[in-house]
């Protein structure tokens, strides 16, 4: 008597003894081999940080000292016009990640606007937001948070 037949005998026995209530037959499907791709592309964020602008919580407006700072950077750039500027916006860890991605972009764009107003051609500027994904300070203190609410300018 094969295994299958014995299985059916088992079912029949069950029914005979307990009455033919619904019997559900499940076959667990083995977890198929899920292949893991380990593509680790590396984006070389070349260019050091030439300047960092800081922001208040939940805000992307610039205080006057920041504007002065950006103006200075714009002037520095004009003497080096073969290069490009990359403005990266960041946020602190509070709030949701996607909303922070958008907020980071607002910060980067605010800085870019001032650069353009001060003579930097817009086609030389790229803005990127990293939201809260790339903090410089860890920890959940006001001090750490303040350090992360920033826009970084890199010359490429």
């Amino acid at each position: 008597m094969s295994a299958l037949e014995s299985l059916f005998v088992l079912i029949a026995a069950l029914c005979a003894v307990g009455g033919c209530a619904n019997v559900l037959y499940d076959e667990a499907v083995d977890v198929s081999a899920i292949s893991a791709t380990s593509e680790a592309k590396y984006f070389d964020s070349a260019g050091e940080v030439s300047g960092t602008i800081y922001f208040d919580y939940d805000k992307y407006d610039l205080i006057s000292s920041s504007i002065t700072q950006i103006r200075q950077l714009a002037n520095d750039f004009k003497t080096n016009s073969s290069m490009k500027i990359r403005v990266e916006g960041h946020c602190d860890e509070r709030g949701t990640r996607e909303y922070n991605l958008a907020l980071g972009e607002k910060r980067a764009k605010a800085v870019a606007e001032v650069l353009i107003l001060n003579g930097v051609p817009s086609n030389k500027i790229t803005t990127v937001s990293y939201g809260e994904e790339k903090p410089v300070a860890y920890g959940s203190t006001e001090a750490s948070w303040a350090k992360n609410r920033r826009a970084e300018l890199r010359l490429l």
Binding site: G18, N22, V29, V31, I34, E39, K41, R94, Y99, A102
Partner: protein
């Protein structure tokens, strides 16, 4: 004489006006104790030394989310192997509500184990269901999960989630640590990395058929959306646009992704047609519109917008573009996710500068804060609507935590992988082939 008549009439009026209605008593809550279920060690007709292992796995499954309380074999007064051997008094004495008895034997092929088991209602002395579940002896935990799902379904009337999985983002602890998109069974087993990168990964979302994932990767220098097939590992990057490309979310029929693009100047909600490889703009507002989620019936999209000055939840009807604001309490409400029945949504709600996970009923507008942890984000809800997993910070560590929908059971998902965040719960996966006999 007349006054006697008058008073008599008065009395009869009182008696007739008193309508004695059929008494109705309302029971609004039950025992605070979880359901007590005894999984009797499965009778084992095989040579394999894993005898008795199954009942432990099923018991541990059922206890996962606080809904059940199980007995150890030492507590049991008898160990019936089938329905005939059940002596109800032994179980009623122990205040057991449900009983599972069964035996395992060899299946069709040598590696196959077949377990026939019965789910019994002890109080009513009635067998509720007989099932035969089979699987490979090398994957006994999968078989146990299938059994747990069947038992759960029979007792609760809704699908069990023991065979489901989650995907999440993990960042290694070191400063230049890699980012991984990871997959794990809901009990934490079989954890593996599906994609790794030196640049950030965000917002993973599971497709409705459980076969594909969408997520955001910064591997090319800025946020881009990718679709990856779970079983083949094939990846495809969506046609990238300038600015933000993020927050992908599958439609219930998996034909579209809702997402956020800022190419038009500021972040707006767009729909991506997968077949046509084309984008369609849904919202057009100078503020931030982000974090879309499709309703279970595919007719609406809920999203976050700061158009009123601060982040709040809005709901849009896809067919006509009508938008209605949903949250009015508090100054920060974001990242809404519909519950599987489409009647409520879980979201991040800030109160007193603390970020909690809350749930709000779409019809009544009633808001209920679920968590007492703070810095909470990214809630994901189980496909049966009973459990929520979310990311939070505990003693400086970024971890995943869970809470039952009724708020009564709380747990933490431990990890030694570094930072973990942004969980996404799978749909009910077809882990078993079911045939109904008789």
């Amino acid at each position: 004489m007349n006054f006697r008549i008058i008073f008599f009439l008065f009395i009869s009026i009182i008696f007739s006006a008193a309508t004695f209605s059929h008494l109705k008593i309302e029971i609004t809550e039950g025992s605070q104790n979880p359901i007590r279920i005894a999984i009797v060690p499965i009778g084992w007709n095989l040579d394999n030394p894993s005898r008795g292992y199954l009942h432990q796995m099923v018991s541990s499954d059922l206890e996962s989310f606080g809904e059940f309380e199980t007995l150890t074999p030492q507590d049991m007064l008898s160990l019936p192997r089938n329905e005939e051997e059940v002596f109800y008094r032994d179980w009623k004495l122990l205040d057991v509500d449900y009983l599972v008895v069964g035996t395992a034997s060899q299946g069709e092929v040598p590696e196959e184990v077949s377990v026939s088991f019965s789910v019994i209602d002890v109080t009513r002395e009635k067998t509720l269901r007989r099932s035969i579940s089979s699987g490979s002896i090398n994957y006994l935990n999968s078989l146990a999960h299938v059994m747990s799902d069947r038992i759960y379904e029979e007792i609760n009337g809704i699908p069990g989630i023991y065979s489901t999985k989650i995907i999440y983002i993990n960042k290694e602890g070191s400063s230049n640590g890699k980012y991984h998109l990871r997959l794990a069974d809901i009990d934490g087993q079989n954890d593996l990395a599906l994609f790794s990168s030196y640049e950030p990964l965000m917002s993973p979302d599971w497709s409705s058929d459980g076969k594909k994932l969408a997520y955001v990767s910064f591997e090319e220098g800025s946020s881009k959306i990718y679709i990856q097939e779970l079983y083949t590992g094939n990846r495809k990057g969506l046609k990238s646009e300038g600015g933000i490309n993020s927050s992908p979310n599958w439609s219930p029929d998996d034909r579209y992704l809702s997402a956020v693009l800022s190419k038009a100047g500021n972040p707006d909600i767009y729909i991506y047609d997968i077949k046509e490889n084309s984008w369609k703009q849904l919202t057009d507002h100078f503020g931030i519109d982000t974090e879309p989620d499709w309703s279970p019936n595919g007719k609406k999209i809920i999203f976050t917008s700061n158009r009123s000055g601060s982040p709040q939840i809005y709901e849009m009807t896809v067919s006509n573009g009508k938008i209605r604001r949903k949250t009015f309490e508090g100054s920060y409400n974001a990242r809404a996710r519909y519950t599987p029945d489409g009647k409520s949504f879980v979201f991040v709600h800030r109160m007193d500068n603390l970020f909690h996970i809350a749930v709000q009923n779409l019809r009544t507008g009633k808001l209920r804060i679920l968590t007492d942890t703070s810095l909470d984000e990214s809630p994901t809800i189980s496909p049966n609507g009973n459990v929520i997993i979310y990311a939070t910070k505990n003693q400086g560590e970024n971890i995943l935590a869970g809470i039952s929908y009724n708020g009564k059971t709380k747990f933490i998902l431990p990890t030694d992988l570094g930072e973990v965040r942004e969980p996404s719960w799978s749909p009910i996966l077809k882990q078993s082939r079911s045939t109904r006999l008789f």
